[in-house]
């Protein structure tokens, strides 16, 4: 199949491109980028050769967005999400690829689970799925999973996400061993002895609400440890869901002295603060928790200056039964795949990020950190493409989510800009455009 996207604004920071360019896709690969590429089979759409010409006038064509941190819940928690519904949600949110965390049941700590995830994802045929295998067996923090075998099975990275690796030596060995395999380790940095029992950020708000707090130091002390371990072992570490000004400062300083540390944050951390919890809405219960205004501003600034490399949703679907309970008892997490781009575009509208910078945070850097293809539209690369309509106004309606779960605090929030077409390997897997194939 041949696809020609004409008259769009092509934004590809990996080639320093931002301008009106056509893009020709052939056999699942980017074949050519140029001005005014003639239709391979004359002027008509769906001509004899099978070439499809799509008019991208007024739209933006970017390398496919990659969400490097999601929870797809399968195997084990299919009532919250399945790989199929998660992939549907991903492409509807503009993502051509996702990395899914290992805290399933059974845990993705062995080849068979990794292969199962890949098989399910292939059967669905929507977004690419990069399974993240656990660092330790059964997420127990004691014995390393078989990194080599998991890599061969198709795991893209290692993480005990959902739980920290509290034992410093285990984390050191994980960083060293993964580094020798050129595999990333994604750290859920949390000191559980400091966060124990907490359900929200520890602040004046938690004091006023009488909810047990999670101090910023619970995150920061563990990030400090991870940075020091990466520095000492000369391995690299990726810090998941950064939320505090102190964490940002630690990462910024570490990068300045040459430590190979990368970091991500999630849209809710640069959109909301703990002030939003005043009505005990359990959709706002996330781990790490929503922080203060000063923290939110530090996260925004870190995204702007590149201290935080990537935006990842930490898509954490939960059924109503996990959330419609007392705040103390509710599960942590919110869905994010279908709101992540809209919320990040708000930073573009506010002038905090340029559009190319958004593409770097949501495509280029995630691909680099995970060492996976994507993040570029260079000729010869996989044709993973997201088409954006920056002027499309829409309102979050969780009822229309493709995700199996609805746990979002952004219901009814107005948004400007969304993905209108998602192409994976040259195949259109999601479209809102009328003339799309």
């Amino acid at each position: 199949m041949t696809l020609l996207l004409k008259n769009g604004r092509l934004v590809d920071p990996s080639q320093d491109i931002d301008g009106p360019l056509d893009i020709l896709i052939r056999n699942g690969k980017v074949a050519r980028i140029a001005r005014n590429i003639p239709s391979p089979a004359g002027k008509n759409r769906k001509a004899d050769s099978g070439a499809t010409v799509l008019d991208m006038k007024g739209l933006v064509v970017v390398p496919g967005l990659i969400d490097m941190h999601v929870h797809l819940r399968e195997p084990g928690f299919e009532y919250k999400e399945t790989i199929a519904t998660g992939c549907e949600a991903a492409v509807a949110g503009g993502f051509t690829a996702v990395a899914c965390m290992a805290n399933t049941d059974p845990v993705n700590d062995n080849r068979s689970v990794t292969e199962f995830i890949l098989r399910k994802a292939a059967a669905c045929g929507k977004a690419r799925v990069y399974p993240v295998a656990s660092i330790t067996r059964n997420l127990e923090g004691k014995i390393l999973s078989e990194f080599w075998d998991l890599k061969e099975a198709g795991a893209a990275a290692f993480s005990d996400d959902g739980r920290p690796v509290t034992n410093g030596t285990v984390m050191r060995r994980a960083l060293e061993y993964a580094h020798s395999l050129d595999m990333p380790v994604l750290s859920h940095s949390e000191d559980p002895t400091l966060s124990a029992g907490g359900v929200m950020n520890e602040s004046l708000v938690s004091t006023e609400l009488g909810l047990r707090g999670i101090p910023a130091a619970a995150e920061e002390t563990m990030i400090a440890r991870d940075i020091l371990l990466a520095e000492y072992t000369r391995a690299s570490v990726h810090i998941c869901h950064v939320t505090t000004a102190g964490s940002v400062r630690l990462i910024r300083e570490a990068k300045a002295r040459g430590v190979t540390v990368t970091a991500e944050t999630a849209p809710h951390y640069f959109t909301l603060t703990d002030e939003a919890l005043k009505d005990y809405d359990t959709n706002l219960k996330v781990n790490p928790p929503l922080r203060s205004t000063a923290d939110m501003e530090a996260v925004r600034e870190a995204l702007r200056d590149g201290t935080i490399d990537a935006v990842a949703s930490d898509h954490a679907p939960h059924a109503l039964t996990d959330k419609a309970v007392e705040f103390d008892l509710a599960a942590f997490g919110m869905v994010g795949l279908e709101t992540s781009l809209g919320l990040t575009l708000k930073l573009v509208h506010k002038g905090i990020l340029s559009l190319p910078e958004l593409v770097v945070r949501m495509s280029v850097r995630p691909a680099q950190i995970l060492r996976v293809p994507g993040g570029t539209l260079k000729p010869g690369s996989d044709a993973d493409i997201t088409v954006l309509d920056l002027n499309r106004f829409w309102t979050v309606d969780s009822g229309s989510f493709r995700s199996r779960s609805r746990n979002t605090p952004f219901q009814d929030m107005p948004m400007k800009g969304r993905a209108v077409m998602t192409i994976v390997g040259g195949q259109v897997v999601y479209r809102e455009l009328e003339n799309a194939p």
Partner: protein
């Protein structure tokens, strides 16, 4: 003389005028409790459910007596947290209770915000009888009533609240209530028991009991949960008592006619020296009496009763 909201969830969102209405109404009910026949027909035919997820004989009994003195039918449900383990959620319980069509649901729960959740789910009026570490509004109202009765006014008074501020819903509700009524509040206790950024609530913070009580008109001592010692909030009961047990020398530092209050039950010799708890400054038993009157007032006002 009606309240704007259908529920009493906290003092935080209760306007000053409504607090005044509640206190005035409560005072008018004190007389009922001193009659020989302690019963008026005001709430005849009304049903009040006391839904207690946390054991509290005192508060539950106080609500029960309040309802009975107004001739309401009161039903007690002790839903231990084991029912949560069994799978019955608060939502299930709420729907069942609503179907039985009571007039008021009184809820005590160990999770902050649980009454707010219940209030959103049911048509009936909900009264928060204490939720987690959040609020205990009826306790604060009875405390305000007691202070007003003894001092004539609350405006301009200096009040010290002492003990485990971090885990105390009584402290939070009283901070809101006292400040709304024009009092100055100082909180005191070990630093480990001071919640984060409490200064942001407009209170003075002290770690010394001596400093906290100097020149104050009211001293409110909070109950210490003895198991906090295992959690390292203080090193030992002995050390805590040496520094935070209210005794004669503290009363000498306080203002003349200082009131000593405690929400009960008291750990004698830990929070308050026995002779102070039973001494002339103590209004601890008046608090209990006023508790019934305040709860009668709330039940009466929420059911839209007319006198």
């Amino acid at each position: 003389m009606i309240l704007q909201k259908k529920d009493i969830l906290g003092i935080k969102d209760l306007p000053v005028e409504e607090i005044a209405i509640i206190l005035d109404t409560a005072e008018s009910f004190v007389e009922v409790s001193s009659r020989e026949i302690k019963k008026v027909p005001t709430l005849r035919g009304k049903t009040i459910i006391n839904l207690f997820y946390e054991a509290s004989t005192r508060t539950r009994t106080s609500f029960e007596i309040a309802g009975k003195r107004l001739s309401a039918d009161t039903i007690n449900i002790s839903a231990s947290t084991s029912s949560v383990v069994k799978g019955e959620t608060l939502i299930d319980t709420a729907k069942n209770l609503e179907a039985m069509n009571p007039d008021v649901i009184v809820i005590r729960h160990s999770a902050s915000g649980a009454p707010h959740m219940l209030a959103r789910m049911v048509r009936q009026s909900v009264i928060n009888a204490g939720d987690g570490s959040n609020e205990h509004p009826t306790q604060a109202l009875l405390d305000l009533m007691t202070i007003r009765a003894k001092k004539g006014t609350i405006t301009g008074l200096k009040v010290a609240i002492v003990g485990d501020i971090a885990h105390s819903r009584v402290a939070r509700s009283n901070i809101y209530g006292l400040q709304k009524m024009g009092a100055q509040v100082t909180v005191a206790g070990p630093a480990t028991m001071m919640p984060r950024d409490i200064e942001g609530m407009g209170v003075e913070v002290r770690t010394s009991l001596e400093e906290a009580v100097s020149g104050v008109d009211v001293i409110m001592m909070l109950r210490i949960q003895l198991e906090r010692q295992q959690q390292n909030f203080f090193p030992s009961l002995r050390e805590y008592a040496q520094h935070y047990c209210l005794s004669r020398r503290h009363l000498d530092l306080a203002g003349p006619d200082v009131l000593v209050m405690h929400p009960g039950p008291i750990n004698r010799g830990v929070e308050i020296a026995p002779e102070i708890a039973d001494g002339p400054s103590s209004v601890i038993l008046e608090q209990v009496t006023n508790g019934v009157a305040v709860r009668m007032a709330l039940l009466y006002l929420l059911t839209g009763g007319k006198q």
